[in-house]
């Protein structure tokens, strides 16, 4: 715009000697506002909590699958003492039959002493099994991937006096029910945490957006299109969401890595019990991928909420 040299207007001019020309450095959406920092904090905390929940659910689910697989890979042959039959020879006969049966990977017959040791926690030490009709156990390991003919095995063992096959079906069903309940409970908690995360992030974003209303109004008044304004705010809030989400996601990943390391290095009863529930504490590559997807989803949620709020604000201005 060229102005005239009217003395009445040129006397408004600045003193000569202005320095280098200025340039546009500030973004349209103010950075580093207090509300923006608070939003990053909220997103980081909620992402951390959601990641912990997701990781825990994945660990429990993997462990439950492992328990089921372990139990399903074994069956037990009980040989009860029967009058007129030598239990030792019946055990050997049953073990031989099982060993030769298709789909069996290994057979371990518990000796009299080993059976005694199994009962020690309940009956105490120094027990003579000769005085009690204790059944003897044969643990049969099944080959992985092989389907064993349980009915055929039962039929083959008919020649062994007092033999009975327990394929752990009852246990497996109970295990399946329990692990299913644990996983459903975990997924329900995960969904609730996701819902809480979504609501917290949405409200925190709207709070942060409230302080930007003057910027939205000015951009609107000087002729910026709704798309232009929403685009800038969405980009800005996507970055804030990614920043907070990455902090929370990395903290959760670090937590799982350290927990996995500790459970791997440390021993002891306490660690053993936790390991029984959560396995090795390693969530694996798939787990870390889920954490990364979560971070992206939360960042998109932040951006989407800001875009929605911009449109609502523009509608209220018009």
């Amino acid at each position: 715009m060229k102005m005239s040299d009217d003395p009445d207007t040129t006397d408004l001019a600045a003193p000569p000697g202005a320095e280098a020309l200025p340039s546009m450095r500030s973004p349209l959406v103010p950075r580093n506002s207090i509300s923006g920092r608070a939003l990053v904090g909220v997103v980081a905390i909620m992402t951390f909590l959601a990641s912990l929940t997701a990781g825990a659910v994945m660990l429990v689910r993997a462990s439950a699958n492992d328990w089921q697989a372990d139990v399903a890979r074994e069956l037990t042959i009980q040989v009860r003492p029967v009058a007129g039959h030598d239990v030792e020879s019946e055990v050997r006969k049953a073990a031989d039959i099982a060993r030769g049966f298709p789909g069996v990977a290994g057979v371990k017959a518990y000796s009299k002493e080993e059976s005694g040791r199994l009962l020690e926690p309940w009956l105490g030490t120094g027990l003579s099994l000769d005085d009690l009709p204790i059944p003897r156990l044969i643990v049969v390991d099944l080959a992985s991937g092989a389907a064993i003919d349980i009915a055929g095995l039962r039929k083959a063992l008919n020649v062994v006096a007092g033999a009975n096959v327990d394929d752990h079906r009852g246990w497996i069903e109970q295990m399946r029910l329990m692990s299913g309940t644990v996983v459903i409970g975990g997924i329900t908690i995960l969904l609730l945490v996701f819902a809480a995360t979504a609501l917290s992030v949405a409200f925190a974003t709207r709070g942060a957006m409230a302080s930007n209303r003057p910027t939205i109004e000015v951009l609107h008044f000087i002729g910026a299109t709704n798309q232009f304004i929403a685009g800038h705010f969405q980009r800005h809030f996507l970055l804030l969401g990614l920043k907070g989400g990455t902090i929370g996601g990395l903290a959760a990943a670090l937590f799982f890595a350290i927990a996995g390391l500790i459970s791997g290095l440390a021993g002891g009863a306490a660690v053993g019990e936790v390991s029984a529930l959560f396995g090795s504490f390693a969530i694996g590559l798939a787990g870390y991928a889920v954490l990364a997807i979560q971070v992206i989803l939360i960042a998109l949620l932040t951006a989407g909420t800001s875009g929605y709020t911009v449109h609502r604000t523009l509608m209220s201005i018009d």
Partner: protein
Amino acid sequence: MVRFENVGLRYGLGPEILRDLSFRIDPHSFQFLTGPSGAGKTSLLRLLFLTLQPTRGLVTLFGHDVATLSKDSLAALRRRIGMVFQDFRLLDHMTTYENVALPLRVAGRDEGSFRGEVVELLRWVGLGDRMWAHPPVLSGGEKQRAAIARAVIAQPQLLLADEPTGNVDPNLAQRLLRLFVELNKLGTSVIIATHDIALMDQYDARRLVLHDGRLHVYE
């Protein structure tokens, strides 16, 4: 350029605050919009600035019936209008230079093509040494001039100013009025809303007087 025909405006179910407004704003014209406080000057400016739609009547801007335009078309029309707000509405996180250059940035122009223009305008309004300053450290008069510079930088066809001299001393008010007159000479139609009689007496121009929601035009 602007045509109002039997325009009425009410907020919600309240009384009509603007009634049967019919007038034209011609290209290259200069007018004051005046009237007592609460007469509806700001509402009329908002109608002209397309942030309000009339309850009845026809508003035509640059040949377009504004009631039929999409939001994007309204934004495009708004880029042809400069607005000086009574409360300046400068963005505190931007420097004076950035605030003034904002309409050009929004219009998608490359900074290299407008930097010199913005600097020249800032110097012309006396803010050459305040280009790097942020609004919170500017005086009322400096903010006023920055707001005016932002309104005119894109060379709008229509300039609307709401009480542009309300925050400055009489001497600066006179100088700002001369600035508007200068812009008008460059081809911009100017509407200044004010209730400062002394200011209007300094320049012989058309007067639009709002009273009891009705407009009286004194050529």
